[in-house]
């Protein structure tokens, strides 16, 4: 008798866990769908400021390597201009581009540190 009860408890426990998992999946689906239907939040001034600071720091590192790119400088200027006009989406995108360009220039300077010798006339 006690063995039957024990086995029945295990069975009902499994059913309850299954129901709970199903509820979680349903909730996640609803949340995902609602998220997909709501447009992405516009970038804030804080987002821009964080991205701009990161880009500026990377560009400073490129400058220390004497290898800044005109395109990174232009993207930084563009970001600042867009932010001044209150267009933080454009400002954020330009700041991110500036950071990517600055990082590429750092990569170039680092990889060229010894590689230039391969091109030397000997």
């Amino acid at each position: 008798m006690s063995m039957i009860r024990k086995s029945g408890d295990r069975f009902s426990g499994r059913i309850m866990r299954k129901e709970s998992a199903m509820r979680n999946i349903a909730l996640a689906t609803v949340l995902l769908l609602s998220g997909a239907m709501v447009p992405a939040l516009a970038a804030s001034e804080a987002d821009f400021k964080a991205a701009y600071a990161a880009a500026e720091a990377a560009e400073k590192d490129a400058g220390a390597l004497r290898n800044r790119w005109t395109t990174a400088e232009a993207a930084l200027a563009e970001a600042k201009k867009a932010a001044a006009a209150g267009d933080f989406d454009a400002a954020l995108a330009a700041a991110k581009e500036a950071e990517a360009l600055a990082r590429a220039s750092i990569f170039q300077a680092t990889s060229e540190k010894d590689r230039w010798k391969d091109a030397e006339i000997r």
């Binding site: 004497r66 800044r68 790119w69 005109t70 400088e73 220039s105 060229e112 006339i121």
Partner: protein
Amino acid sequence: MRVRLLFPSALTALALTLLAQLSFAADAPDPVADAKAFQKYFTTKFPKLKPDDFVNGPYSMNEDMHRQWEEKEQFPPYEFALEAGKEMFATPFKTGKTYADCFANGGIGIRQNYPYFDEKEGKVVTLELALNRCREANGETPYSYVKDEMASLTAYMAFTSRGKPMDIKIPNDPRALAAYESGKRYFYTRRGQLNFSCASCHVQSPGERIRAEILAPALGIMNALPIYRSEWSGMGTTSRRLITCNSQTRAVPLEPQSDEYRDLEYYLSYMSNGLPISGPGARP
């Protein structure tokens, strides 16, 4: 037994030291060997060209352009700058002195000796830098390194040195060798978003077109400076030329007469030792 163990390790250490010395010797700057290999590269690449003709840049790379250049030289576009430079050179400063007082041989026929390594300063001194130092020493404000006044002065000084072989010296001073090596490194290092080095255009592709322009060979490139460029509708100094090259590869140019540019000029001029001064030049 111990002696037997020590002997091979001593041999290994000796071999490693020798190897290290050999690799150091291979990496140590050797300007004489470099210049020989540099000149051989270009004379082999363009076997029909007389060595002295390299100083004519793109005009030496193409027969049609060479004819155009010969005609241009009848009424050269740099003539006005030359006349202005001659007048400026002779005009006294507030102190009553002139540029002639700042240079050997009164500044006449000395272009081929610039840039030189100043052992007191421990740095390379270019002609443009020496001219501005002369102005400052006489209480005058320095000229812009990229504008007409500097181009006119250097044009006149180059003109008085035409035909003299470039004669750059690298003294036996580790700082001079370091400056030479720094110039070489700058020349071959890729930079800018377009990932070009000076050598990408002027070693790997002289005579080829980049858009509408024919690229000049690096050999003799300094001998023709300063230049009148039709593209600029005006004269350009060595500083202007280097700054423009950097911008064209989308690299932020360095400040005029920065150590890197001075070293680059030193290296490139040394590579052209023996080739005649042809400045001021004219370029498309």
